[in-house]
């Protein structure tokens, strides 16, 4: 496994979410993901980035190109220092929202990615990791 190439982007505004989407698209294409996989991964990234902004009060995303033998992919780590998620199980339920959304961001993103993990501590913040492999 090669050392991952990491970069960080801020998520502090709606414009930042647009920039994250564009960068994820570019890197997913560079990793060799097909158009459907790119679309799934960019959609998931958009959902999680919006949560980072809306619920986490802003944060960052780290982008890692990952390679495991012939397998290439892209991993994104979203971090904020917001209020955290009290019940991850509940937050992962289709339709569950505390912000008047559709409640599909987390549960839907989990379906759209090959790797999905949430770490969160109430009062400390939230980290969501997603990855998609070719």
């Amino acid at each position: 496994m090669n050392a991952p190439v990491t970069d960080t982007m801020p998520i502090q505004s709606s414009d930042d979410i647009v920039r994250v989407r564009q960068e994820v698209r570019r890197r997913a294409a560079a990793a060799g993901l097909g158009i459907v996989d790119q679309t799934k991964f960019v959609t998931a990234a958009s959902e999680i980035a919006r949560n980072t902004l809306d619920y986490g009060g802003g944060g960052i995303v780290r982008l890692e190109a990952v390679q495991d033998g012939a397998r290439k992919g892209l991993r994104l780590i979203f971090e904020d220092h917001g209020p955290g998620i009290a019940s991850i199980d509940l937050a992962l339920t289709d339709g569950y929202t505390t912000g008047g959304g559709l409640g599909l961001g987390l549960s839907g993103s989990r379906r759209l990615c090959n790797e999905f993990a949430i770490e969160s501590k109430p009062g400390e913040g939230t980290r969501v990791t997603i990855a998609r492999w070719k």
Partner: protein, 136 residues
């Protein structure tokens, strides 16, 4: 702020979303559209999303809202030109776009709305004919 243009096409309104929309644009579009439907008495709204590379739940909710408001104002919403990769992703995301009709392209979407208009007019003519019969 950049706004999305709304064109009048006969008795329908056509919106072509060409940019990666951010939140303020989406909110402005909902407001502008509501005003235009009320002003023009449009019976259909076509939303061309063929340029959109993704539809996330934020945009999905906007499309749902537009359809719901249009319905209250007696106009039907048809989303046209959704890319196949976007359609596949929406299903997996779990977004059903209830109350939103879809069509392959603008022409097909316009046909759907024209058909609805023809139905409305037929009913109006029939009611008119009945009025005449009962009016003697």
């Amino acid at each position: 702020m950049e706004r999305i243009p709304i064109l009048k096409m006969g008795r329908a309104l056509l919106i072509t979303i060409q940019v990666d929309m951010h939140d303020q644009m989406a909110i402005a579009l909902e407001e502008d559209l509501t005003t235009r439907i009320a002003q023009t008495g449009a019976k259909g709204v076509l939303i061309d999303i063929s340029s959109l590379e993704i539809v996330d739940s934020f945009i999905g909710r906007m499309l749902d809202n537009i359809a719901a408001v249009s319905r209250v104002l007696d106009a039907e919403t048809v989303v046209v030109g959704m890319r196949p990769a976007v359609a596949i992703t929406l299903v997996e995301l779990g977004l059903t776009l209830q109350g939103v009709k879809t069509a392959l392209n603008v022409e097909r979407g316009f046909e759907l709305i024209s058909r609805r208009l023809a139905e409305i007019e037929t009913v109006v003519v029939e009611i008119g004919a009945e009025d005449e019969r009962s009016g003697d």
